[in-house]
């Protein structure tokens, strides 16, 4: 239903790209009438849990600019602003999408295990009192989840950076968020079939990382290579900026993972410890492997390895112990290094900033590793294969497969349709000139 409505919109706007982005403004008018219901009394709120979730939400928010800098520093100088902008505008746009219709699709009352109903459209009925069994205001849960919905499409932007047409990208993101992210979040966390099945995903290995990593692979293939790739040298323009981004990601990820306990409790602490340990291990592993394999340890390698570790521990953070997290981190360093450094050149696609290699591969490894290392000795966890429960691994594999299929199919169809209607890439001379000037009329540095 929603797709049809949207497509007719796009057809009408095809010629005037500038206007294409006003897609969701009319929805506002509909919502003006139905005013949101707020409960004045905030019963059963735990201030400590609420404090932690408020902070966690802010921490996850800062990951999106962090990602913008991580990616931006790796682009060429002429594309630094555009690369940053792709994430930044998603932060802005998705902040509104989530409030208007994203949250209800993902977490609204379940419809057949597949999607949330529209009854919480515009946060109608999403109040300030905690929901049943929770110790934090419902809107805080909504906002915390909103930050996940923001960063996930931003992750994909690394795949088509340095060549995507800005207007098309905005439309793609809205569609992707609505047709991939929102249902997937529902399947896993919103009362949908994957959660019911018992697949474990503590903080978004499938929902966030596999979904974005798989979509990135498809996007890289459909959008095509950057002009000059891989013959022209493509130097990162500002590696200190990339490290700033990696640092903000690491910092914010404590909110992402430990915040996913939804309380300031033992589970949060466990997630915090495993997150830091896996990340350190992965970054160190990547650096050492690189040193052995290529002769030099690089800071881009360390930063990339850290992100790979963060990704891989995400689904497992609250389900495995610290020593297990060392193995998960080491695996992330190894597998993602292999994917980025050895596999990508062999296969020849141009995933500009290695979203597939890091998030697709790291997320898949993490989801599987959760099925291996999960231990019921951690509060709120069950056992995985290594602790005697092979069934869990099966559930994890189903979740992985379902995510891959949904993400790949919808991304492929959406991009193909948009290619026909709006075009996916900037013109060749715009790509040569750089997207900062051609898309935004700005120049990154006048130093």
């Amino acid at each position: 239903m929603m797709t049809i409505v949207r497509n007719s919109w796009i057809e009408g706007l095809g010629k005037g790209d500038r206007a294409a982005m006003f897609l969701f403004f009319p929805v506002l008018l509909v919502l003006l009438s139905g005013k949101a219901a707020f409960a004045a009394e905030a019963s059963k709120i735990d201030t400590g849990d609420t404090a932690w979730l408020l902070v966690s939400t802010a921490l996850v928010m800062v990951m999106t600019p962090g990602l913008a800098f991580f990616y931006g520093g790796m682009a060429r100088s002429k594309n630094v602003l555009n690369t940053i902008m792709l994430s930044f505008i998603i932060l802005c746009m998705m902040s509104v999408q989530w409030v208007l219709w994203g949250y209800t699709l993902a977490f609204g009352p379940d419809v057949g295990g597949i999607i949330g109903s529209l009854s919480w459209l515009g946060l109608k009925g999403v109040g300030l009192e905690p929901t049943e069994g929770s110790t934090i205001p419902h809107q805080l849960f909504m906002m915390f989840q909103g930050m996940f919905a923001i960063i996930t499409p931003a992750l994909i932007t690394g795949a088509f950076a340095e060549r995507i047409k800005f207007s098309t990208f905005l439309v793609f993101t809205l569609i992707w968020a609505t047709l991939v992210y929102d249902p997937l979040a529902h399947w896993v966390w919103g009362g949908g079939w994957l959660g019911d099945l018992g697949a474990l995903d503590f903080a978004g290995g499938t929902v966030v990382h596999i979904s974005s990593g798989a979509s990135a692979l498809i996007a890289a293939l459909v959008v095509g290579k950057r002009k000059g790739y891989p013959t022209e040298p493509i130097h990162p323009n500002n590696l200190p900026l990339t490290v700033i981004g990696a640092a903000l990601l690491w910092f914010g990820w404590f909110g992402f993972n430990a915040g996913s306990a939804l309380a300031a409790n033992a589970s949060a602490v466990n997630a915090f410890v495993t997150t830091n340990t896996a990340t350190g291990t992965a970054a160190f592993t990547w650096t050492m492997v690189e040193w052995l394999h290529r002769g030099k340890p690089t800071i881009l390698g360390a930063a990339t390895g850290a992100v790979a570790g963060l990704v891989a521990i995400t689904p497992a953070a609250g389900f495995v112990g610290p020593i297990s997290s060392i193995f998960i981190g080491a695996g992330a360093g190894l597998f993602c290094y292999y994917a980025v450094v050895i596999l990508k050149p062999k296969l020849g696609y141009d995933d500009s900033l290695d979203v597939f290699g890091v998030h697709g591969v790291g997320g898949t490894w993490g989801a599987i590793a959760t099925g291996l290392f999960a231990s019921s000795s951690i509060p709120g966890s069950t056992d995985g294969l290594f602790f005697g429960n092979p069934a869990q691994l099966g559930k994890q594999l189903i979740a992985v497969a379902a995510t891959w299929v949904l993400a790949c199919v919808v991304t492929f169809v959406t991009l193909k349709v948009l290619d026909g209607i709006m075009g996916l890439r900037v013109k060749e001379e715009e790509e040569v000139e750089g997207l900062d000037l051609s898309q935004h009329g700005e120049t990154g540095y006048y130093l």
Binding site: G228, E232, V432, L437, E442
Partner: protein, 112 residues
């Protein structure tokens, strides 16, 4: 000896370098410059204020060549730097009175 100095578009640099090394040129010196010419600049917008940026990023290649190689070098540059659009750039040729290789003290042709 001559000094050939070519102002070209950035993204042609690699091709020009290849074209030159292919005909046996062993050294060159490259400078980032800004060019002003027939090629129109672009607009930049900062908080609604538009600036026309008329100085475009270009790259200058300086190659010292012995007289006898001059034509070959000019041809190589022209062919490899050309896109056919305004702003492809210019080649300037100067007389070069002497060249010294600092390391060895060689002078003239051998020093190139």
């Amino acid at each position: 000896m001559k000094m050939v100095s070519a102002v070209i578009k950035h993204f042609r640099l690699d091709d020009v370098r290849k074209a030159l090394t292919d005909i046996g040129v062993q050294g060159m010196t490259v400078t980032e410059v800004k060019g002003f010419g027939r090629q129109k600049g672009h607009m930049e917008v900062y908080r609604g204020v538009e600036y026309e940026v008329r100085f475009l990023p270009k790259v200058k290649i300086d190659v010292a060549v012995p007289e006898e190689k001059l034509d070959e070098v000019l041809k190589a540059i022209q062919e490899s730097a050309r896109t056919g659009e305004i702003g492809d750039g210019k080649i300037f040729v100067y007389g070069l009175e002497d060249v010294i290789r600092i390391r060895t003290g060689e002078r003239g042709k051998e020093a190139i």
